[in-house]
Amino acid sequence: MTTKELAIAASTVWVIVAAILVMFMQAGFAFLEAGLTRMKNAGHIAAKNVLVLGIASLVYYLVGYGIAFGDGGNGLVGGSGFVPSSETLLAIGASPFSWFGSIPAGAGYMFQVVFAAVSLAIVWGAMAERTKLYVYFLFGVVFTLVYSVVSHWIWHPDGWLFALGMQDFAGSTVVHYQGALAALAGALLLGPRIGKFDEQGKPNAIPGHNMAYVTLGVLILWFGWFGFNPGSTLGVVTGDRVGYFAYVALTTNVAAAAGAIGAVTVSWLVLHKPDLSMMLNGVIAALVAVTAAAGFVAPWAAIVIGLVAGAIAVTGVLLVERIRIDDPIGAVAVHGMAGVWGTLATGIFAVPALAENLATGQGGLWYTGSFHQLGTQALGLLAVGIFTFSASFGALWAMKLAWGIRVEPEVETAGLDVSEHGMWGYPEFYIPVPGGYGTESHGHLLGNGHHHHPMPSPALSEEAA
Protein backbone atom coordinates (compact mmCIF):
# COMPACT_ATOMS: atom_id res chain seq x y z
CA MET A 1 0.00 0.00 0.00
CA THR A 2 1.12 3.53 -0.72
CA THR A 3 1.32 6.03 2.10
CA LYS A 4 -1.58 7.89 0.47
CA GLU A 5 -3.71 4.75 0.65
CA LEU A 6 -2.60 4.19 4.20
CA ALA A 7 -3.65 7.70 5.13
CA ILE A 8 -7.05 7.05 3.55
CA ALA A 9 -7.30 3.75 5.41
CA ALA A 10 -6.48 5.37 8.76
CA SER A 11 -8.87 8.24 8.14
CA THR A 12 -11.66 5.87 7.13
CA VAL A 13 -11.17 3.78 10.24
CA TRP A 14 -11.39 6.88 12.38
CA VAL A 15 -14.40 8.38 10.62
CA ILE A 16 -16.36 5.12 10.62
CA VAL A 17 -15.64 4.52 14.29
CA ALA A 18 -16.78 8.07 14.99
CA ALA A 19 -19.93 7.52 12.95
CA ILE A 20 -20.71 4.37 14.92
CA LEU A 21 -20.31 6.28 18.19
CA VAL A 22 -22.67 8.98 16.97
CA MET A 23 -25.20 6.39 15.82
CA PHE A 24 -25.27 5.06 19.37
CA MET A 25 -26.36 8.49 20.61
CA GLN A 26 -29.87 7.41 19.60
CA ALA A 27 -29.82 5.11 22.60
CA GLY A 28 -28.73 8.09 24.64
CA PHE A 29 -31.67 10.17 23.51
CA ALA A 30 -34.03 7.24 23.92
CA PHE A 31 -33.10 6.87 27.59
CA LEU A 32 -32.67 10.55 28.37
CA GLU A 33 -36.19 11.15 27.07
CA ALA A 34 -37.82 8.01 28.41
CA GLY A 35 -36.36 8.75 31.83
CA LEU A 36 -37.65 12.32 31.87
CA THR A 37 -41.18 11.30 30.91
CA ARG A 38 -43.80 9.04 32.47
CA MET A 39 -44.02 5.27 32.74
CA LYS A 40 -47.18 5.14 30.68
CA ASN A 41 -45.28 6.47 27.65
CA ALA A 42 -41.91 4.82 28.19
CA GLY A 43 -42.09 2.24 25.40
CA HIS A 44 -43.25 4.76 22.84
CA ILE A 45 -40.68 7.37 23.80
CA ALA A 46 -37.76 4.97 23.77
CA ALA A 47 -38.67 3.03 20.63
CA LYS A 48 -39.37 6.14 18.59
CA ASN A 49 -35.62 6.70 18.32
CA VAL A 50 -35.34 3.49 16.33
CA LEU A 51 -37.95 4.91 13.98
CA VAL A 52 -36.08 8.22 13.83
CA LEU A 53 -32.87 6.48 12.85
CA GLY A 54 -34.71 4.41 10.27
CA ILE A 55 -36.39 7.36 8.59
CA ALA A 56 -33.32 9.59 8.61
CA SER A 57 -31.14 6.77 7.24
CA LEU A 58 -33.36 6.15 4.23
CA VAL A 59 -34.25 9.74 3.40
CA TYR A 60 -30.63 10.81 3.74
CA TYR A 61 -29.49 8.00 1.47
CA LEU A 62 -32.11 8.80 -1.15
CA VAL A 63 -31.79 12.58 -1.32
CA GLY A 64 -30.36 14.21 1.81
CA TYR A 65 -26.74 13.32 1.17
CA GLY A 66 -26.90 14.78 -2.35
CA ILE A 67 -28.64 17.93 -1.14
CA ALA A 68 -26.01 18.45 1.53
CA PHE A 69 -22.78 17.36 -0.12
CA GLY A 70 -23.44 16.68 -3.80
CA ASP A 71 -21.28 18.52 -6.35
CA GLY A 72 -22.60 20.96 -8.89
CA GLY A 73 -25.11 22.71 -6.67
CA ASN A 74 -25.22 26.36 -5.63
CA GLY A 75 -24.88 28.30 -2.37
CA LEU A 76 -28.22 27.00 -1.16
CA VAL A 77 -28.39 23.38 -2.14
CA GLY A 78 -26.26 20.50 -3.49
CA GLY A 79 -26.83 19.34 -7.03
CA SER A 80 -26.07 15.63 -7.43
CA GLY A 81 -25.40 12.33 -5.71
CA PHE A 82 -28.99 11.25 -5.15
CA VAL A 83 -29.60 7.51 -4.55
CA PRO A 84 -25.87 6.87 -4.96
CA SER A 85 -24.62 3.58 -6.47
CA SER A 86 -21.98 1.27 -5.01
CA GLU A 87 -19.40 2.63 -7.44
CA THR A 88 -20.11 6.17 -6.31
CA LEU A 89 -19.92 5.20 -2.65
CA LEU A 90 -16.64 3.30 -3.03
CA ALA A 91 -14.97 6.17 -4.85
CA ILE A 92 -12.67 8.54 -2.94
CA GLY A 93 -12.55 12.26 -3.59
CA ALA A 94 -14.45 11.86 -6.83
CA SER A 95 -17.65 13.46 -8.15
CA PRO A 96 -20.42 13.69 -6.98
CA PHE A 97 -18.90 13.69 -3.49
CA SER A 98 -15.52 15.19 -4.30
CA TRP A 99 -15.65 17.19 -1.06
CA PHE A 100 -14.66 14.03 0.86
CA GLY A 101 -11.07 13.79 -0.25
CA SER A 102 -9.56 11.47 2.32
CA ILE A 103 -12.36 8.91 2.81
CA PRO A 104 -14.68 6.97 0.49
CA ALA A 105 -18.01 8.66 -0.25
CA GLY A 106 -19.70 5.81 1.63
CA ALA A 107 -17.83 6.80 4.78
CA GLY A 108 -19.04 10.34 4.20
CA TYR A 109 -22.63 9.09 4.13
CA MET A 110 -22.19 7.09 7.32
CA PHE A 111 -20.75 10.03 9.21
CA GLN A 112 -23.29 12.57 7.97
CA VAL A 113 -26.41 10.45 8.25
CA VAL A 114 -25.99 9.87 11.95
CA PHE A 115 -25.78 13.63 12.45
CA ALA A 116 -29.05 14.06 10.60
CA ALA A 117 -30.58 11.41 12.86
CA VAL A 118 -29.33 13.19 15.99
CA SER A 119 -30.87 16.46 14.85
CA LEU A 120 -34.15 14.69 14.20
CA ALA A 121 -34.01 12.98 17.59
CA ILE A 122 -33.83 16.36 19.30
CA VAL A 123 -37.08 17.49 17.70
CA TRP A 124 -39.23 15.00 19.56
CA GLY A 125 -37.98 15.91 23.02
CA ALA A 126 -40.16 18.98 23.28
CA MET A 127 -43.08 17.21 21.58
CA ALA A 128 -42.99 14.23 23.90
CA GLU A 129 -46.04 12.49 25.41
CA ARG A 130 -48.70 14.02 23.13
CA THR A 131 -47.76 13.77 19.44
CA LYS A 132 -49.58 11.52 16.98
CA LEU A 133 -47.54 8.67 15.59
CA TYR A 134 -47.87 9.56 11.90
CA VAL A 135 -46.17 12.88 12.62
CA TYR A 136 -42.90 11.06 13.34
CA PHE A 137 -42.98 9.64 9.84
CA LEU A 138 -44.12 12.64 7.89
CA PHE A 139 -42.31 15.40 9.72
CA GLY A 140 -39.28 13.13 9.99
CA VAL A 141 -39.00 13.23 6.21
CA VAL A 142 -39.58 16.97 6.00
CA PHE A 143 -37.10 17.80 8.72
CA THR A 144 -34.38 15.60 7.24
CA LEU A 145 -34.64 17.60 4.03
CA VAL A 146 -34.56 20.93 5.86
CA TYR A 147 -31.56 19.70 7.84
CA SER A 148 -29.71 18.68 4.69
CA VAL A 149 -30.16 22.10 3.13
CA VAL A 150 -28.74 23.92 6.14
CA SER A 151 -25.83 21.52 6.47
CA HIS A 152 -25.05 22.37 2.84
CA TRP A 153 -24.98 26.07 3.68
CA ILE A 154 -22.49 25.68 6.52
CA TRP A 155 -20.46 22.55 5.83
CA HIS A 156 -20.09 22.36 2.05
CA PRO A 157 -17.63 24.65 0.28
CA ASP A 158 -20.42 25.71 -2.08
CA GLY A 159 -22.56 26.78 0.89
CA TRP A 160 -23.08 30.52 1.32
CA LEU A 161 -22.39 30.51 5.07
CA PHE A 162 -19.34 28.34 4.55
CA ALA A 163 -18.15 30.96 2.07
CA LEU A 164 -18.65 33.66 4.69
CA GLY A 165 -16.41 31.68 7.03
CA MET A 166 -18.99 30.65 9.60
CA GLN A 167 -17.41 28.42 12.25
CA ASP A 168 -19.55 25.47 13.36
CA PHE A 169 -17.07 22.70 13.98
CA ALA A 170 -19.47 19.83 14.57
CA GLY A 171 -22.88 21.43 14.50
CA SER A 172 -24.02 23.52 17.46
CA THR A 173 -26.03 25.34 14.82
CA VAL A 174 -26.45 22.72 12.10
CA VAL A 175 -27.47 19.87 14.36
CA HIS A 176 -28.59 21.13 17.77
CA TYR A 177 -29.97 24.60 17.16
CA GLN A 178 -31.89 23.30 14.13
CA GLY A 179 -33.35 20.42 16.08
CA ALA A 180 -34.37 22.80 18.84
CA LEU A 181 -36.04 25.20 16.40
CA ALA A 182 -38.27 22.43 15.09
CA ALA A 183 -38.85 21.26 18.66
CA LEU A 184 -39.97 24.76 19.61
CA ALA A 185 -42.33 24.95 16.64
CA GLY A 186 -43.78 21.61 17.64
CA ALA A 187 -44.20 22.51 21.30
CA LEU A 188 -45.97 25.73 20.36
CA LEU A 189 -48.35 24.03 17.94
CA LEU A 190 -49.08 21.12 20.26
CA GLY A 191 -49.61 23.08 23.43
CA PRO A 192 -48.75 21.82 26.91
CA ARG A 193 -49.54 18.34 28.23
CA ILE A 194 -52.74 17.92 30.22
CA GLY A 195 -52.05 19.16 33.73
CA LYS A 196 -48.75 20.88 32.98
CA PHE A 197 -50.22 24.32 33.71
CA ASP A 198 -53.13 24.91 36.04
CA GLU A 199 -56.08 27.27 35.48
CA GLN A 200 -53.93 30.27 36.47
CA GLY A 201 -51.20 29.10 34.13
CA LYS A 202 -49.00 28.14 37.09
CA PRO A 203 -46.67 25.36 35.94
CA ASN A 204 -46.91 21.97 37.65
CA ALA A 205 -44.08 19.49 37.89
CA ILE A 206 -44.68 16.31 35.91
CA PRO A 207 -41.73 14.22 37.11
CA GLY A 208 -40.04 11.82 34.75
CA HIS A 209 -40.06 8.22 35.86
CA ASN A 210 -36.48 7.01 35.97
CA MET A 211 -33.37 9.00 36.87
CA ALA A 212 -31.13 5.99 36.25
CA TYR A 213 -32.33 5.97 32.64
CA VAL A 214 -31.56 9.68 32.37
CA THR A 215 -28.05 9.02 33.67
CA LEU A 216 -27.54 6.19 31.22
CA GLY A 217 -28.76 8.44 28.42
CA VAL A 218 -26.38 11.23 29.38
CA LEU A 219 -23.37 8.94 29.69
CA ILE A 220 -24.15 7.35 26.32
CA LEU A 221 -24.41 10.84 24.83
CA TRP A 222 -21.12 11.94 26.38
CA PHE A 223 -19.57 8.73 24.98
CA GLY A 224 -21.09 9.28 21.55
CA TRP A 225 -20.01 12.90 21.51
CA PHE A 226 -16.42 11.69 21.25
CA GLY A 227 -17.42 10.57 17.78
CA PHE A 228 -19.49 13.68 17.17
CA ASN A 229 -16.82 16.33 17.72
CA PRO A 230 -13.46 14.61 17.22
CA GLY A 231 -14.88 12.71 14.24
CA SER A 232 -15.66 16.00 12.55
CA THR A 233 -12.00 16.31 11.62
CA LEU A 234 -13.08 13.78 8.95
CA GLY A 235 -9.59 12.31 9.01
CA VAL A 236 -6.39 11.69 10.92
CA VAL A 237 -4.65 14.81 9.65
CA THR A 238 -6.07 18.28 10.00
CA GLY A 239 -4.17 21.06 8.25
CA ASP A 240 -0.63 20.30 9.28
CA ARG A 241 -1.58 18.51 12.48
CA VAL A 242 -1.54 14.75 12.87
CA GLY A 243 -4.09 13.43 15.38
CA TYR A 244 -5.81 16.78 15.81
CA PHE A 245 -8.96 14.88 16.76
CA ALA A 246 -7.33 13.98 20.08
CA TYR A 247 -7.21 17.67 20.92
CA VAL A 248 -10.86 18.03 19.95
CA ALA A 249 -11.69 15.15 22.27
CA LEU A 250 -9.96 16.98 25.10
CA THR A 251 -11.81 20.27 24.67
CA THR A 252 -15.06 18.31 24.40
CA ASN A 253 -14.34 16.45 27.62
CA VAL A 254 -13.38 19.42 29.77
CA ALA A 255 -16.41 21.35 28.54
CA ALA A 256 -18.77 18.51 29.43
CA ALA A 257 -17.13 18.23 32.84
CA ALA A 258 -17.56 21.96 33.42
CA GLY A 259 -21.19 21.65 32.35
CA ALA A 260 -21.89 19.10 35.05
CA ILE A 261 -20.22 21.20 37.72
CA GLY A 262 -21.80 24.42 36.46
CA ALA A 263 -25.31 23.05 36.34
CA VAL A 264 -25.26 21.29 39.69
CA THR A 265 -23.83 24.39 41.35
CA VAL A 266 -26.33 26.77 39.79
CA SER A 267 -29.16 24.37 40.59
CA TRP A 268 -27.97 24.19 44.19
CA LEU A 269 -27.85 27.96 44.47
CA VAL A 270 -30.96 28.86 42.48
CA LEU A 271 -33.24 25.93 43.26
CA HIS A 272 -31.72 25.20 46.68
CA LYS A 273 -31.41 21.57 45.59
CA PRO A 274 -28.71 19.84 43.53
CA ASP A 275 -31.38 18.66 41.08
CA LEU A 276 -30.06 15.55 39.34
CA SER A 277 -31.96 16.03 36.11
CA MET A 278 -30.63 19.58 35.91
CA MET A 279 -27.04 18.43 36.41
CA LEU A 280 -27.53 15.86 33.70
CA ASN A 281 -29.10 18.41 31.37
CA GLY A 282 -26.10 20.63 32.10
CA VAL A 283 -23.74 18.05 30.64
CA ILE A 284 -25.75 17.92 27.43
CA ALA A 285 -25.93 21.70 27.23
CA ALA A 286 -22.16 21.93 27.61
CA LEU A 287 -21.58 19.32 24.94
CA VAL A 288 -23.97 21.14 22.64
CA ALA A 289 -22.21 24.44 23.23
CA VAL A 290 -18.69 23.12 22.73
CA THR A 291 -19.75 21.38 19.52
CA ALA A 292 -19.24 24.49 17.40
CA ALA A 293 -16.10 25.44 19.30
CA ALA A 294 -14.30 22.16 19.91
CA GLY A 295 -11.67 22.53 17.19
CA PHE A 296 -11.31 26.30 17.44
CA VAL A 297 -10.82 27.11 21.11
CA ALA A 298 -8.29 26.69 23.90
CA PRO A 299 -9.03 24.30 26.77
CA TRP A 300 -9.63 27.16 29.22
CA ALA A 301 -12.22 28.61 26.84
CA ALA A 302 -13.87 25.20 26.52
CA ILE A 303 -14.20 25.14 30.30
CA VAL A 304 -15.78 28.60 30.31
CA ILE A 305 -18.16 27.58 27.53
CA GLY A 306 -19.14 24.49 29.49
CA LEU A 307 -19.70 26.31 32.77
CA VAL A 308 -21.91 28.92 31.14
CA ALA A 309 -23.81 26.25 29.23
CA GLY A 310 -24.45 24.44 32.50
CA ALA A 311 -25.97 27.61 33.91
CA ILE A 312 -27.99 28.08 30.72
CA ALA A 313 -29.46 24.60 31.09
CA VAL A 314 -30.87 25.35 34.53
CA THR A 315 -32.12 28.86 33.85
CA GLY A 316 -33.23 28.08 30.32
CA VAL A 317 -35.46 25.22 31.40
CA LEU A 318 -37.13 27.50 33.95
CA LEU A 319 -37.45 30.32 31.42
CA VAL A 320 -39.10 28.16 28.77
CA GLU A 321 -41.57 26.99 31.39
CA ARG A 322 -42.20 30.53 32.54
CA ILE A 323 -43.35 31.52 29.07
CA ARG A 324 -45.78 28.57 29.23
CA ILE A 325 -44.06 26.28 26.77
CA ASP A 326 -44.14 22.63 27.83
CA ASP A 327 -40.84 21.02 26.90
CA PRO A 328 -40.64 17.79 28.92
CA ILE A 329 -36.99 17.16 28.09
CA GLY A 330 -35.68 20.69 28.02
CA ALA A 331 -34.71 20.42 24.35
CA VAL A 332 -35.28 24.10 23.62
CA ALA A 333 -33.01 25.20 26.45
CA VAL A 334 -30.39 22.49 26.19
CA HIS A 335 -30.04 22.25 22.42
CA GLY A 336 -31.40 25.65 21.38
CA MET A 337 -30.11 28.19 23.87
CA ALA A 338 -26.88 26.30 24.46
CA GLY A 339 -26.48 25.86 20.71
CA VAL A 340 -26.76 29.61 20.23
CA TRP A 341 -24.32 30.21 23.06
CA GLY A 342 -21.80 27.77 21.61
CA THR A 343 -22.01 29.27 18.14
CA LEU A 344 -21.49 32.78 19.44
CA ALA A 345 -18.82 31.69 21.92
CA THR A 346 -16.81 30.32 19.01
CA GLY A 347 -16.89 33.80 17.48
CA ILE A 348 -15.52 35.11 20.76
CA PHE A 349 -12.94 32.50 21.75
CA ALA A 350 -11.68 31.08 18.42
CA VAL A 351 -7.87 30.93 18.56
CA PRO A 352 -6.48 32.55 15.36
CA ALA A 353 -3.86 29.84 14.86
CA LEU A 354 -6.40 27.05 15.19
CA ALA A 355 -8.91 28.77 12.89
CA GLU A 356 -6.14 29.14 10.36
CA ASN A 357 -5.17 25.49 10.68
CA LEU A 358 -8.79 24.59 10.10
CA ALA A 359 -8.95 27.11 7.25
CA THR A 360 -12.34 28.31 8.47
CA GLY A 361 -13.04 31.92 9.46
CA GLN A 362 -10.68 33.78 11.71
CA GLY A 363 -9.78 34.41 15.33
CA GLY A 364 -12.50 35.48 17.74
CA LEU A 365 -13.23 38.75 19.50
CA TRP A 366 -11.17 37.84 22.55
CA TYR A 367 -7.96 37.49 20.55
CA THR A 368 -8.48 39.79 17.61
CA GLY A 369 -10.66 42.49 19.14
CA SER A 370 -12.63 42.26 15.90
CA PHE A 371 -16.36 41.59 15.84
CA HIS A 372 -16.12 40.12 12.35
CA GLN A 373 -16.26 36.44 13.27
CA LEU A 374 -18.87 37.02 15.95
CA GLY A 375 -20.96 38.85 13.37
CA THR A 376 -20.67 35.97 10.91
CA GLN A 377 -21.79 33.57 13.62
CA ALA A 378 -24.75 35.78 14.50
CA LEU A 379 -25.74 36.07 10.87
CA GLY A 380 -25.65 32.32 10.50
CA LEU A 381 -27.84 31.88 13.55
CA LEU A 382 -30.30 34.42 12.23
CA ALA A 383 -30.53 32.86 8.79
CA VAL A 384 -30.88 29.32 10.08
CA GLY A 385 -33.33 30.49 12.72
CA ILE A 386 -35.63 32.04 10.17
CA PHE A 387 -35.36 29.25 7.62
CA THR A 388 -35.61 26.21 9.88
CA PHE A 389 -38.18 27.61 12.27
CA SER A 390 -40.53 28.79 9.54
CA ALA A 391 -40.12 25.64 7.48
CA SER A 392 -40.78 23.45 10.51
CA PHE A 393 -43.60 25.56 11.84
CA GLY A 394 -45.20 25.69 8.41
CA ALA A 395 -45.02 21.96 7.87
CA LEU A 396 -46.35 21.10 11.31
CA TRP A 397 -49.02 23.76 11.06
CA ALA A 398 -50.23 22.32 7.75
CA MET A 399 -50.30 18.84 9.29
CA LYS A 400 -52.21 20.22 12.25
CA LEU A 401 -54.84 21.69 9.96
CA ALA A 402 -55.02 18.63 7.76
CA TRP A 403 -55.10 15.77 10.27
CA GLY A 404 -54.17 17.18 13.65
CA ILE A 405 -50.82 16.51 15.30
CA ARG A 406 -51.94 15.94 18.89
CA VAL A 407 -53.50 12.78 20.29
CA GLU A 408 -56.96 12.82 21.88
CA PRO A 409 -57.07 13.72 25.60
CA GLU A 410 -58.11 10.20 26.60
CA VAL A 411 -55.18 8.77 24.62
CA GLU A 412 -52.84 11.19 26.37
CA THR A 413 -54.33 10.36 29.78
CA ALA A 414 -54.21 6.61 29.27
CA GLY A 415 -50.74 6.87 27.81
CA LEU A 416 -49.37 6.45 24.31
CA ASP A 417 -48.09 2.92 24.92
CA VAL A 418 -51.43 1.28 25.50
CA SER A 419 -53.46 3.62 23.32
CA GLU A 420 -51.32 3.74 20.22
CA HIS A 421 -49.43 0.46 20.43
CA GLY A 422 -51.92 -1.69 22.32
CA MET A 423 -49.50 -2.57 25.07
CA TRP A 424 -47.84 -0.83 28.00
CA GLY A 425 -44.11 -0.25 28.09
CA TYR A 426 -44.14 -1.98 31.48
CA PRO A 427 -47.04 -4.41 31.11
CA GLU A 428 -46.68 -5.97 34.54
CA PHE A 429 -47.17 -2.63 36.25
CA TYR A 430 -50.34 -1.80 34.36
CA ILE A 431 -52.27 -4.93 33.52
CA PRO A 432 -54.35 -5.51 36.68
CA VAL A 433 -53.22 -8.92 37.86
CA PRO A 434 -54.52 -10.12 41.22
CA GLY A 435 -51.79 -12.75 41.24
CA GLY A 436 -49.31 -9.94 41.45
CA TYR A 437 -46.52 -8.95 39.12
CA GLY A 438 -45.12 -11.58 36.81
CA THR A 439 -47.39 -14.46 37.66
CA GLU A 440 -49.30 -16.66 35.26
CA SER A 441 -52.64 -15.53 36.58
CA HIS A 442 -53.16 -12.89 33.93
CA GLY A 443 -56.73 -12.23 32.89
CA HIS A 444 -56.01 -13.84 29.56
CA LEU A 445 -54.91 -17.03 31.22
CA LEU A 446 -58.31 -17.76 32.72
CA GLY A 447 -59.19 -21.40 32.82
CA ASN A 448 -55.97 -22.59 34.39
CA GLY A 449 -56.10 -24.64 37.58
CA HIS A 450 -59.80 -24.24 38.32
CA HIS A 451 -59.93 -27.59 40.09
CA HIS A 452 -60.90 -27.11 43.73
CA HIS A 453 -61.15 -29.09 46.94
CA PRO A 454 -64.72 -29.18 48.30
CA MET A 455 -65.31 -29.89 51.99
CA PRO A 456 -68.28 -29.38 54.30
CA SER A 457 -68.28 -25.90 55.83
CA PRO A 458 -70.46 -24.54 58.63
CA ALA A 459 -74.00 -23.34 57.85
CA LEU A 460 -74.45 -19.58 57.86
CA SER A 461 -74.91 -18.55 61.49
CA GLU A 462 -78.26 -16.89 62.23
CA GLU A 463 -76.87 -13.83 64.02
CA ALA A 464 -75.53 -12.51 60.70
CA ALA A 465 -77.06 -9.07 60.01
Partner: protein, 116 residues
Protein backbone atom coordinates in the same frame (compact mmCIF):
# COMPACT_ATOMS: atom_id res chain seq x y z
CA UNK B 1 -69.02 5.91 64.52
CA UNK B 2 -69.73 4.86 60.93
CA UNK B 3 -67.25 3.55 58.42
CA UNK B 4 -68.11 4.62 54.89
CA UNK B 5 -66.36 2.47 52.29
CA UNK B 6 -66.43 3.24 48.59
CA UNK B 7 -65.02 1.69 45.45
CA UNK B 8 -64.35 4.46 42.93
CA UNK B 9 -62.50 5.09 39.69
CA UNK B 10 -58.91 5.98 40.50
CA UNK B 11 -59.07 9.30 38.71
CA UNK B 12 -62.07 10.32 40.86
CA UNK B 13 -60.35 9.78 44.21
CA UNK B 14 -59.35 13.38 44.80
CA UNK B 15 -62.67 14.70 43.53
CA UNK B 16 -64.48 12.46 45.99
CA UNK B 17 -62.30 13.46 48.92
CA UNK B 18 -62.74 17.15 48.11
CA UNK B 19 -66.51 16.71 47.87
CA UNK B 20 -66.64 15.07 51.30
CA UNK B 21 -64.52 17.80 52.85
CA UNK B 22 -66.59 20.57 51.24
CA UNK B 23 -69.98 19.10 52.14
CA UNK B 24 -69.27 17.73 55.61
CA UNK B 25 -66.03 19.27 56.74
CA UNK B 26 -64.79 15.78 57.53
CA UNK B 27 -61.03 15.37 57.13
CA UNK B 28 -59.49 11.94 57.24
CA UNK B 29 -59.50 9.16 54.69
CA UNK B 30 -57.50 6.05 53.87
CA UNK B 31 -57.09 4.99 50.25
CA UNK B 32 -56.05 1.62 48.87
CA UNK B 33 -55.34 0.73 45.25
CA UNK B 34 -57.78 -1.95 44.19
CA UNK B 35 -58.83 -3.74 41.07
CA UNK B 36 -62.42 -4.57 40.41
CA UNK B 37 -64.66 -6.80 38.41
CA UNK B 38 -68.30 -6.01 37.90
CA UNK B 39 -70.90 -5.40 35.23
CA UNK B 40 -68.29 -3.55 33.22
CA UNK B 41 -66.07 -5.30 30.69
CA UNK B 42 -62.29 -5.29 31.15
CA UNK B 43 -59.60 -3.64 29.01
CA UNK B 44 -58.41 -5.21 25.78
CA UNK B 45 -54.67 -5.40 25.12
CA UNK B 46 -52.64 -6.42 22.08
CA UNK B 47 -49.19 -7.96 22.24
CA UNK B 48 -47.31 -9.37 19.28
CA UNK B 49 -50.54 -10.04 17.46
CA UNK B 50 -52.48 -11.63 20.31
CA UNK B 51 -55.54 -9.78 21.55
CA UNK B 52 -56.45 -10.48 25.17
CA UNK B 53 -58.71 -9.04 27.83
CA UNK B 54 -58.17 -8.51 31.51
CA UNK B 55 -61.42 -9.00 33.47
CA UNK B 56 -60.18 -6.53 36.08
CA UNK B 57 -60.10 -2.77 36.02
CA UNK B 58 -58.12 -0.38 38.20
CA UNK B 59 -60.21 1.09 41.03
CA UNK B 60 -59.54 2.66 44.43
CA UNK B 61 -61.07 1.65 47.74
CA UNK B 62 -61.73 4.59 50.10
CA UNK B 63 -62.40 4.33 53.81
CA UNK B 64 -63.86 7.23 55.81
CA UNK B 65 -64.52 6.78 59.51
CA UNK B 66 -67.05 9.47 60.33
CA UNK B 67 -69.46 10.63 63.01
CA UNK B 68 -72.85 8.89 62.84
CA UNK B 69 -74.73 12.09 62.07
CA UNK B 70 -72.80 12.94 58.89
CA UNK B 71 -72.58 9.41 57.48
CA UNK B 72 -75.58 9.89 55.20
CA UNK B 73 -74.23 13.11 53.74
CA UNK B 74 -70.88 11.46 53.20
CA UNK B 75 -72.47 8.59 51.28
CA UNK B 76 -74.34 11.01 49.06
CA UNK B 77 -71.30 13.22 48.57
CA UNK B 78 -69.18 10.24 47.59
CA UNK B 79 -71.74 8.78 45.21
CA UNK B 80 -72.28 12.13 43.50
CA UNK B 81 -68.60 13.01 43.19
CA UNK B 82 -67.62 9.52 42.07
CA UNK B 83 -70.11 9.54 39.24
CA UNK B 84 -68.12 9.90 36.03
CA UNK B 85 -71.11 10.07 33.75
CA UNK B 86 -69.53 7.20 31.85
CA UNK B 87 -71.07 3.93 30.74
CA UNK B 88 -70.02 1.79 33.58
CA UNK B 89 -67.51 1.14 36.32
CA UNK B 90 -68.37 3.91 38.77
CA UNK B 91 -68.45 1.56 41.72
CA UNK B 92 -70.44 1.41 44.94
CA UNK B 93 -70.56 2.90 48.43
CA UNK B 94 -71.70 1.37 51.72
CA UNK B 95 -71.55 1.91 55.46
CA UNK B 96 -70.77 -0.21 58.52
CA UNK B 97 -70.98 0.73 62.17
CA UNK B 98 -67.59 0.70 63.91
CA UNK B 99 -66.63 0.83 67.59
CA UNK B 100 -63.72 1.74 69.85
CA UNK B 101 -62.42 4.18 67.29
CA UNK B 102 -59.12 5.15 68.85
CA UNK B 103 -56.87 7.97 67.73
CA UNK B 104 -53.40 6.56 68.01
CA UNK B 105 -51.36 9.70 68.63
CA UNK B 106 -53.47 10.86 71.55
CA UNK B 107 -54.88 7.54 72.62
CA UNK B 108 -58.28 9.25 72.84
CA UNK B 109 -61.52 8.35 71.11
CA UNK B 110 -61.54 9.86 67.61
CA UNK B 111 -64.82 11.64 68.36
CA UNK B 112 -63.09 13.43 71.19
CA UNK B 113 -60.15 14.40 69.06
CA UNK B 114 -62.36 15.71 66.30
CA UNK B 115 -64.49 17.69 68.66
CA UNK B 116 -61.29 19.49 69.63
Amino acid sequence: MIKVEAVVLRERVETVIDAVEEQTGHVGVTVVEAIGHGRQRGITHEYRGRIFESRFLPKALLTFVVADEIAGTVVDAVADAARSGGESGDGIVWTTPVYNVTHTRTGLRLEAVERV
